[in-house]
Symmetry: C2
Subunit: 358 residues, 2 copies
């Protein structure tokens, strides 16, 4: 079924109002959810509303948070998200980074005591309208084993970078530090298909193509796959994201990141508060006249877009191309939700006495 982005926004905002968010906060959260759906990243879209509902029912999500800056310098801030939905803590933190950058040239916010925030790219892209480069990192539920290990110690810990251009649309990279996102394993399980070797390992650390291996004590591999192909570099990246997100902010690191689903218990012991994020904003004209930078970025994009493709391969993509094209299609045709998700959301709407149904 296809829905307009307005309908999806209304539903999501109403849901978050029903579980206690202010209208303003519910609008902020809905905008992130709808951006994920429009950009074709449904794994971070309305499929996750039930997780929020279950966490809220279990008293594990604070929909009336008192988010605050607990420490700051002219270019930095630490935010305590007060266990808010991750989108609220992230928007507050990124706005703080942007405000710092306006004064100090760059701004950097480490956020603790937050939750799953959806797509990292959304927050990096907030910088674009301010003539700034945006950066966003987050840690996440531990599913990834460091090189040589069978212990799940890191999340898929994504990195997002948004860079404004001139005549061209912006460069927007947003990627997990693993070969694939976890959601793709779920899709393979649901389709009854095998996955590729190089994504996961079994509980003993052996290569496998079983997409359901995470339920059998297996682990995801860092970007690179195996040691010979540079998995230690993927591990370095995921580790850096964890350290910047959790250790600078005082969030739980690695195995101590709280689950983003209610059916998994929070870790028995922890060393920090909640999920951690790290945000950066760099004013372009701190470094160079903005017009000059934008022209150079256009030339960069032209150079890479005009690179020669191997025979039978598609054109070289600029990071952000795929999601932007998908957004055009989805704005025209509507956002497609699968029947199981529609049923789930309508059941939640019933439970909450929402008048609206999908």
């Amino acid at each position: 079924m296809y829905y307009s982005s307005e309908k999806i926004t209304d539903f999501t905002r109403t849901f978050f109002e029903k579980i206690g968010c202010s209208n303003k906060d519910a609008n902020i959260i809905a905008d992130v959810f709808v951006a994920a759906e429009l950009r074709g990243i449904g794994s971070h879209g309305l499929i996750r509303i039930s997780d929020h509902f279950e966490l809220w029912k279990a008293g594990r999500l604070n929909t009336k948070p008192n988010m605050r800056i607990t420490r700051e310098t002219v270019s930095t801030a630490v935010v305590d998200g007060d266990n808010a939905p991750g989108m609220l803590a992230a928007v507050f933190s990124m706005e703080t980074a942007i405000n710092k950058a306006a004064d100090a040239g760059t701004g950097w916010t480490a956020c603790r005591n937050s939750n799953h925030f959806g797509i990292a790219g959304y927050y990096a892209m907030m910088a674009l309208n301010h003539d700034m480069i945006g950066i966003c990192l987050t840690n996440a539920n531990p599913l990834v084993a460091p090189t040589f290990s069978i212990s799940r110690l890191l999340g898929t810990n994504p990195i997002a970078v948004a860079v404004p251009a001139g005549k061209h649309p912006p460069f927007v990279a947003d990627f997990a530090t693993t070969p694939i996102a976890r959601g793709k394993l779920e899709v393979a399980v649901k389709k009854g298909e095998k996955t590729l070797f190089g994504y996961v390992q079994d509980k003993d650390g052996n290569p496998t193509d079983d997409p359901d291996i995470l339920r059998k004590d297996g682990a995801m591999l860092p970007l690179g796959g195996d040691r010979e192909h540079g998995s230690h570099k993927g591990y370095c990246l995921g580790a850096t994201v964890d350290i910047f997100s959790a250790l600078l902010s005082g969030a739980g690191f690695g195995p101590f990141v709280p689950p983003s689903v209610a059916y998994l218990s929070p870790p028995a012991e922890t060393n920090g508060k909640g999920t951690g994020h790290f945000f950066g904003a760099m004013r372009i004209d701190s470094f160079r006249e903005a017009d000059e930078f934008r022209a150079a970025m256009d030339l960069w994009i032209d150079t890479f877009r005009n690179a020669e493709s191997a025979e039978g391969k598609p054109a070289v993509l600029i990071p952000g191309d795929v999601e932007r094209e998908q957004e055009k299609i989805n704005r025209k045709n509507g956002i497609c939700l699968i029947p199981a998700v529609i049923d789930e959301l309508n059941n939640i709407a019933g439970e909450l006495d929402m008048e609206m149904r999908l």
Copy 2:
């Protein structure tokens, strides 16, 4: 042959003095070269002195540079390296970032008009003695094809991050955004061995295990190897390093990075000046009491070091472990140079009327 680090330092300093550097500058450069040798990264050590000699003879390296800050805010600076040896421009830029961070909480320097600077980790590690996290990125000669392409548009564009700990040695990640460093291909060529699939492609974009393929118009692959295993993420990383290093500073980007060897001509056209780097320094206590951070970092390191290894695999490594252990060995046993390099350096010493020989 094995040499003491003092002998290697003396030789390198004397060489750079002979080609016009001040004693102070020659000492700075020698320290970076010797650090590479001590840390076991010989590919960035004395083997590259001949490249500097040839570039200098060709008038392509300025050993009496007037390096200067051309633009700044409280947290940022742009440095013009005046075509200096990369080590000088990098140390000046990283010192600038550290000074900015002391005042503003963080400091960020983009550097243009520089050259090959050796090991990125050296500059990231400069932050450690200041209770700061250090970051260093650089672009490099184009050898890497973006996903789907046969055009060599990116360098191996490394990322280095150094994070101080408490009782433990620091976390020091320093890695190319490709599955392997270029030097490893050279080693395989010299040994007459094949390399692994997943590192390089031939001129048509087909997989190959020929380590000499770069001389046959082939290309290196981004971290991830192929599209299915996430090479588009490696491409995103390499692209981000290129943009931060070149477009913020006004250096040459991607295919316009000047070669670090004299036998390759500079690009006929360019859009910026020289090689570009990007440096960051973040004062830990901008975010958290330094003691508290260091204790958390120790716990992070303990957690990862104590992860369970797969059967038959070595212990999980903390980034920096390998290089630190190698440094201990090399400080004890001396630095090993291969005969071909020793001959080359002694010939250079003769040409420059240096009294010293290796």
